[in-house]
Symmetry: D3
Subunit: 186 residues, 6 copies
C-alpha cells in the first residue's frame, strides 16, 4: 500500500514537474524577450539613441530595436551602404528615407534629412567630409528615425540619422569603427 | 480511499509546484541577467561599441556594460562632464584616463588619448570644435575603453573614446542629442 | 489790346506752368519712390535677396527695403552688432529674432535660426568661425527674414539670415567688407 | 469778348499743359534712371557691395549696376556658371577675369583672384568647399570687381569676387539661395 | 757656402710647403664634410627637423641629410610625387613607407603613418585637404622618418612625415612653395 | 758639417710648418664658414625655404641664415613666441613685421602678412586654428621673409611666414614638433 502511495505521489510530482519544466522553457524565451525589452526601454528612450542603437545592432537585435522604436511611436528605416564616395552614402540614405516614406517629396523635409546626414558624416570624417579623396573606404549601417526628441515631448517632430560601421584603408582588416549622429528639426 | 488518494496527489503537486514557483522567481532574475548578457554579447562585441554603449547607458545598465566589457578584457573608465569650454571636456576625460590608469605618464599614451578625444569631439561639434564661442553648451557622459579592436584580435591595443549627451543653447530644454567616437592605436 | 491779350495768355500759361512745376516736384519724389520700388521688385524677389539687401542697405534705403519686404509678406527684423566675439554676434541676432517675434519660444524655431546664423557666419569667417581668437573684429548689420523661398511658393516657410559689414584688424581703416547668408527650413 | 478771352486763356493753358505732359513722360523715364542711380549710389558705394549687387542683379538691372560701377572707376566683369564641380566654378571665374583683362598673365594677380574666389566659395559651401562630393549642385552668377576698397580711397587696388545663386539637390526646385564674397589685396 | 745653405734651407721649406699644400687640399674637402656635418648636427637634432630638412634638400645634400639621419639612428625614406589628387600623394607616401620597411603589414603602424600624412597635408592645403577639386596641383618631395622625438630620448618611437614642394594653378610658373609636417606616436 | 746642415734643414722645415699650422687653424674656420655658405646656398634658394630654415635654426646658425638671406636680397625678421592663445602668436608676428619695417602702415601689406600668418597656422593646428581652446600650448620660432619667390625672378615681391616649434599639453615634455609655412603676394 505504501509503495502504491509513493508511486502515486511521485507520478503526481513528475506530472507537475514536467508541466513546469515545459513552462520554464517557454518562460525562458519569454523572460528573454521581456529582458531585451527592459534593456531597450532603458537604452532606447530618445530619438538619437534609437538611431544609434539601430545602426549599431546586428542580426535579430536590429529587428528588435526597430520594432521597439516603432512601438514607441518613432518612424524608422535602416539599411547598409559601403563606398569610397561620400555622395553614394548620402544617396543611399536619402533614397531609403524617401522609399520608406519618412520624408515626403517636399524640399523642406529632404533639406532636414540632408543636413542630418551631413552632420552624421562629420562624426564619420572627423574633420573632413571625404573618403576616396583621402584614400579611405567605409562600410556602414545607417538608421533614420523620426519622432519627438524624447518620449516625453510627443508633439514635436525631429529627424535623426545614425551611422555606425568601419572606416579604413582599402586593405582587408585595415579599418576601425566609426560612428556619427545628426539631428535636425523637421 | 479515493479522496485520500486525491488529497495525497494534490499535496504532492502543490509541494512540487511551490518549489517550482520559488525556482521561477529566482529564474526570472537569472534569466534577465542572462538576457542582458546576451544582448550585451551581441551589442558590445568591439572596442568602439563598448565605448559608445557605456557612454549611452544610464543607471544600473551603465555598470552592467562596464562589468561586461571588463570581463571581456577591456580596460574601461567613464564619467560625466558638462561645460561650455571644450578644454574642460578634454581635461575631464584626460584626468579620468590618467586617474584610472588607462593611460600612463608617458607622452605617447596621452598623445593617443588626446587625439581619440579630438576625433570624438568632431562628432560633437559637427564641423567646429567649439562650444561657448558659438554659444552652445554640452552635458556629456564619456567612456574610455582600451583593448583590441575586436574580441578576435587579442594582441593589439587600441583606445576608444565614446561621447554621448545633449548639446544646445544655454536655455533649459533647448538642446538635442549628440555623440562622438574617436579611435586611435595605442 | 494785343498787349492785354498777350499778358492774359502769358498769365494763363504761368498759372498752368506753376501748377505743373508744383506737380513735377511732387512727381519727382513719387517717381523716385516708384523707381525704388521697381528696383526693389527686381532685386528683392526672394527670401535670401531680401535678407542680403536689407543687411547691405544704409539709412533710408534700409527702411524702404524692410517696408517693401514686409509688404510682400516677409517677416523681417534687422540690427547692428560689432564685436570680436562670435557668441556676441550670435546672441545679438538671436535676441533680435526673439524680441521681434520672428522665432517663438519653441526650441525648433530657435534651432532653425541658430543654424541659419552659423551658416551665415561661415561666409564671414571664410573657413574659421572665429574672430577675436584670430585677432579680428567685425562691425555688422544683420537681417532675419522669414517667408517662402520665392514669392511664387507662398505656403512654405523658411528663414534667412543675411550679414554684411567690415572685418579687420583692431586698427582703424584696416578692414574690408564681408558678407554671409544662411538659409534654413522653419 | 469774355468768351474769346476765355478761349484764348484756355488754349494757352492747353498749350503749356501739353508741353508739360510731354515733358512729364520724358521726365518719368529720366527720373526713373536718376532714381536707379540714386539707389545705386547709396547701395553700390564700395568694392564688395558692387560685386554682390552685380552678382545678385538680373536682366537690365545687371547692366545698370555694371555701368554704374564702371563709371565710378571700378573694373568689372560678370558671368554665369552652373556645376557640381567646384573646379569648374573656379575655372569659369578665372577665365572671365583673364579674358576681360581684370587680371594679367602674372602669377601674383591670378593668386589674388584665386584666393578671393576660394573665400567666396566658403560662403557657398558653409564649412565645406565641396559640391558634387556631397551630392549638391549650384547655379551661380558671379562678378569680379577691381578698384579701391571704398570710393574715398582711390589709390589702393583690391579685388572682390561676389557669388549669388541657388544650391541644392540635383532635383528641380530642391534648392535655396546661397551667396559668397571674397576680397583680397591686388 | 752661404748660397748653398740658402738653397738647402729653401728646398727644405719647399718640401714641407708642398706637403702642407697637398694636405690643405685634402683638408679643405675634409673640413667641408666636417662643416656640413656640423651644420647638420645643429639643424637635424630631432625627428621633425630631420623629416623637413630631407624633404627640403636637393641633389647631394639630400643624400647627406639621409646618411646623417640614419647614422644618428633614425630610419628614413624619401621620394617625390606630383599630382592633382590627394589620394595619389597619400598612396605614394604609404607605398614608400611599406616598401622601405618603415611600416610593417600591421594596421597599427599603417594607421600611425596615415594620420601623420593627413596632418602634413593640412599644412599643404591650409584649411582644405583638396587639390584638383579646387583646381590646384602640387609637386612635392616627402620624407618619412622614424625614431625618438629627440636624440636625447632614445627608447620612444615616433613617426614624422615631412612634405615640401610647390603648389599652384596648372600653369607653368604659377605656383609657390608649400610645406607640411605630421608627427604621430608609433 | 752634416749635422749642422741637418739642423739647418730641420729648423727651416719647422719654420714653414709652424706657419702652415697657424694658417690651417685660420683655414679650418674659414672653410667652415665657406661650407656653411655652400650648404646655405643649396638649401636657402627660395623665399619659403629661407623662412623655414631661419625658423628652424638655433643659436649661431640662426644669424648665419639671416645674414645669408639678407645678402641674397631678402628682407628678414625673426623672433620667438610661446602661448596658448592664437591671437598672441599672430600679434607677436605682426608686431615684429611692423617694428622691423617689413610691412608698412598701409592695410594692404598688413593684410598680406596676416593671411600668410593664418596659412602658416594651418600647418600648426592641422585642421583647427586653436590652441588653448583644445588644451594645447605652443613654443615657436618664426621668420618673416620678403622677396621674390625664387632668386631667379627678382622683380616680384612676395611674403613668407615660417613657423617651427613644439606643440603639446601643458605638461613638460608632453609635446612634439610642428611647423607651418604661409606665402602670399605682397
Amino acid at each position: 500500500m505504501k509503495l502504491i502511495l509513493s508511486i502515486l505521489r511521485f507520478s503526481a510530482m513528475i506530472e507537475v514537474g514536467l508541466a513546469y519544466e515545459k513552462k520554464l522553457i517557454e518562460l525562458r524565451e519569454l523572460i528573454y524577450l521581456e529582458s531585451v525589452s527592459r534593456v531597450m526601454m532603458e537604452q532606447c528612450s530618445s530619438l538619437g539613441k534609437a538611431a544609434l542603437l539601430i545602426a549599431m545592432a546586428e542580426g535579430d537585435l536590429s529587428d528588435s530595436y526597430i520594432d521597439y522604436a516603432r512601438e514607441k511611436g518613432f518612424a524608422v528605416t535602416s539599411g547598409k551602404v559601403g563606398s569610397m564616395d561620400i555622395q553614394k552614402i548620402i544617396a543611399a540614405i536619402e533614397t531609403a528615407g524617401r522609399r520608406e516614406g519618412l520624408v515626403d517629396e517636399r524640399y523642406r523635409s529632404q533639406h532636414a534629412l540632408y543636413h542630418a546626414i551631413l552632420d552624421a558624416l562629420q562624426g564619420l570624417g572627423r574633420g573632413q567630409i571625404q573618403l576616396g579623396n583621402v584614400l579611405r573606404t567605409a562600410g556602414l549601417r545607417f538608421a533614420i528615425v523620426i519622432g519627438p526628441r524624447t518620449l516625453q515631448e510627443k508633439d514635436d517632430l525631429w529627424i535623426a540619422v545614425g551611422l555606425y560601421g568601419m572606416i579604413g584603408a582599402p586593405i582587408k582588416g585595415h579599418e576601425h569603427e566609426v560612428c556619427g549622429l545628426g539631428i535636425n528639426h523637421l
